[in-house]
């Protein structure tokens, strides 16, 4: 008998015969925050993320340009801002080890937790979001969902091969509970609210 068959036989022999129906899980969205964007920002900052407020000048990308002004290697997967490392030409993820800033767009965000979802389609090469020293994420404010129950109804989890909620930067407090940003992955995560080109919220 194969190991698979043995395990299944053992489960069937030992499985409790108790009646345990599968309950439906409610969406728990009866008490939404007044502003999803403000709630998202507050949650993000609690988790160590940075929210790039649009400057008074109206030049939304100014805070991003300021951040990357002195960076040697910038890898961008978004049309809004150009980098100097073309992710389309990356053959091995290891080639991204020297990236200072990665700039990507999130599929959507979650107000409850301050998370942004980055899928394989958003990242092109998944490792860029972990090997870069810093990560900047563009987010369309129209793409913020109230909570994780709504988030897990999204198609990214049914169609794509990889998707990851990023909630603030890579962090650890494994030594005496002292919080460190930049454990093994990015040292900072900044979110810039910026509608997608052609998004209804730009009109």
């Amino acid at each position: 008998m194969s190991s698979r068959d043995e395990i299944f036989a053992s489960i069937r022999a030992n499985r409790p015969q108790a009646e345990r129906p599968l309950p439906e899980v409610p969406l728990f969205d009866g008490n939404p925050p007044a502003s999803l964007l403000s709630a998202f920002k507050e949650s993000l900052e609690r988790m160590g993320g940075l929210f790039l407020d649009p400057p008074a000048s109206g030049d939304i990308l100014a805070p991003v340009r300021a951040k990357i002004a002195n960076a040697k290697v910038v890898c961008s997967t978004v049309p809004e801002i150009a980098g100097n490392r073309d992710i389309g030409r990356v053959e091995r993820p290891q080639e991204l080890a020297d990236v200072d800033f990665a700039i990507v767009r999130a599929s959507f965000a979650v107000a409850e937790t301050g998370s942004v979802l980055l899928s394989q389609e958003d990242l092109r090469v998944n490792a860029v979001a972990y090997l870069a020293q810093h990560l900047i994420v563009l987010l369309d404010p129209a793409d913020i969902l109230i909570n994780l129950h709504h988030a897990y109804r999204r198609p990214e989890f049914r169609n794509g091969h990889y998707a990851c909620f990023h909630t603030g930067p890579s962090a650890t407090a494994d030594i005496e509970g002292v919080l460190i940003h930049g454990a093994q992955g990015v040292r900072s995560l900044s979110v810039l609210p910026m509608p997608k080109a052609g998004s209804p919220s730009t009109h």
Binding site: L22, Y162, I175, Q184, G185
Partner: protein, 519 residues
């Protein structure tokens, strides 16, 4: 005057105020607020350097003497206090999160019901998971036990000529003795979680399922790193130590031939595995090398994505008092040009399903909340249990692996029930601990002194009148007995603690005198 410490609420939730650091220079502030996400403490703590106490002495199959190792941990007061304080802090952060969610108790009830449903239909959901994962291009393997798991992984690595493996933390691989096995076949394993890496470099097991090096002080870590990665032995600055570890790990991550992760949840309807980390190290392990291997215990299955939402909301809040881990990663198939394998491991789980009183321990999602709240665990350290799983959940899981070797563990509990109260999937942990004591007595795995005391107690407890007489006599005796009678070697309760002052009157006596005559 009582010698008991002030209750926590009097001192602002601090058990050991002497640990409060005068300055908070290690902390990160955002918009004037002190950040305490991930495993971060809610307040600055500082301990004095002190030699690290080591864990339980393991002698083959001999029963682990948890009390002996705990006594050595308690004899290192800086370690004991820091451990107690940090875990209690996690517990308080967990309470803070719980109070922020009105539906918390509903979430726990649903989580428990979903887990029980899944476990009673485990064969169906495992079959569904396997079919969906295979349809997504994932290779699925089955391992009856730890040895088979290790052989399968070794085989996959051999097929790829892989000699080095980066991995994220996985209690299942600890259970399988995976690192020892890999060392014996010449494959280098590099743990990528900071706490787990500290433990690997120090040749010690993780002492906690979520914070593996929580029993160590910064000065202990400085010594380990000085010996292994060449840091300055006199520099125990935490930022310096963490940065040095990051820099020493990075080249190993880039050069690794293969990557491995554990799995927090395996979703049957999509065939995906979900991994939660704070460091992003699972994503590095899975996304940098071409080959990704996932070790999954068969009880990790949940039916639907709707269920996943519930469990993700509960996990990190229960574990760390943080709304979510920094990274929640969903792997549904290999990335382009990559290869993905999943090894589904039984290792005693299907047999546990058949243990009438104990099968619900399989609901566990490994959050560690029961450990953080347990007064015995907080004061004895996870390594004192001498087993893969420590704390309350360990007491009810470890004996299923070896009832003789872990026969003392179910006695390392006050049965106060706090573990059951914080468990996000409502496992009746303290009742199972008690049931294990009974089971071990039945199997003759309990030493004579403990058994004789329990037998006497059992007879007493079964006869109310005799019990009342005995309690009255005991209270009189406790008030008048010389110290050596109470604090002798046979009474484990007298060790390292003051027995509370006996009441002047028993409750029953008071009730009879004051209310006894009323209808």
């Amino acid at each position: 005057m009582s010698t008991q410490p002030e209750p926590a609420h009097v001192t602002g939730g601090t058990l050991h105020p002497e640990l409060l650091a005068g300055d908070d220079r290690d902390a990160i502030y955002r918009n004037g607020k002190r950040l305490d996400h991930a495993e971060g403490t809610s307040k600055p703590l500082r301990a004095e350097p002190e030699q690290q106490p080591r864990g339980a002495k393991v002698h083959g199959n001999r029963p682990i003497d948890q009390a002996e190792a705990a006594a050595r941990f308690i004899a290192a007061p800086e370690h004991e206090k820091m451990h107690d304080e940090r875990l209690w802090d996690l517990r308080q952060k967990r309470d803070r999160e719980m109070h922020g969610i009105p539906e918390w108790e509903e979430l726990r009830s649903l989580a428990s019901a979903i887990k029980e449903h899944t476990l009673t239909h485990l064969d169906e959901y495992l079959g569904q998971f396997e079919a969906n994962a295979q349809a997504n291009g994932i290779h699925v393997h089955w391992a009856r036990d730890a040895a088979e798991h290790n052989h399968i992984v070794h085989g996959i690595l051999n097929d790829h000529g892989a000699k080095s493996l980066i991995k994220s933390k996985s209690m299942l691989t600890e259970e399988c003795g995976f690192r020892h096995y890999m060392a014996s076949v010449g494959i280098e394993v590099i743990e990528t979680d900071l706490g787990e890496r500290i433990q690997q470099l120090d040749n010690e097991n993780p002492s906690h399922v979520v914070v593996p090096a929580v029993h160590k002080l910064r000065t202990d870590v400085a010594q380990v790193f000085a010996k292994t990665i060449g840091t300055d032995p006199d520099n125990s600055d935490v930022h310096y130590l963490a940065e040095a570890e990051r820099e020493s790990n990075r080249p190993l991550i880039l050069a690794a031939d293969a990557g491995m992760t554990g799995c927090n949840f395996a979703v049957a309807e999509t065939g995906s595995v979900v991994v939660c980390t704070n460091e992003g190290n699972a994503d590095l392990s899975a996304n940098v090398p071409k080959l990704h291997i996932v070790s999954v215990g068969i009880e990790k299955i949940i039916p639907r994505l709707d269920d996943l939402a519930l469990f993700v909301r509960l996990l990190s809040r229960s574990a760390l008092g943080s709304p979510i881990t920094q990274y929640t990663s969903h792997f549904r198939g290999p990335r382009q040009g990559g290869e993905m394998h999943i090894v589904l491991v039984d290792n005693g789980r299907s047999a546990r399903l058949g243990l009438g009183e104990f099968w619900t321990s399989l609901k566990c999602i490994r959050c560690g909340a029961c450990m953080n709240t347990c007064p015995v665990y907080r004061r004895s350290g996870g390594l004192s249990y001498g087993a893969t799983y420590s704390g309350p959940i360990g007491l009810i899981i470890d004996p299923t692996f070896n009832a003789h070797k872990y026969s003392n563990l179910p006695f390392a509990s006050t049965l106060n029930g706090s573990c059951s109260n914080v468990c996000p999937v409502k496992i009746n942990i303290h009742e199972q601990i008690y049931a294990w004591r009974r089971e071990l007595v039945k199997r003759h795995e309990v030493p004579f002194v403990k058994k004789a005391a329990m037998k006497a107690a059992g007879e007493l407890l079964s006869r109310p009148a005799a019990y009342r007489a005995a309690i009255g006599a005991a209270d009189v005796a406790l008030a008048h007995l010389p110290r050596f009678v109470i604090y002798n070697g046979l009474n484990a309760w007298g060790k390292h603690r003051e027995v509370p002052h006996p009441p002047k009157q028993t409750f029953h006596g008071w009730y009879q005198a004051n209310r006894g005559g009323k209808p």
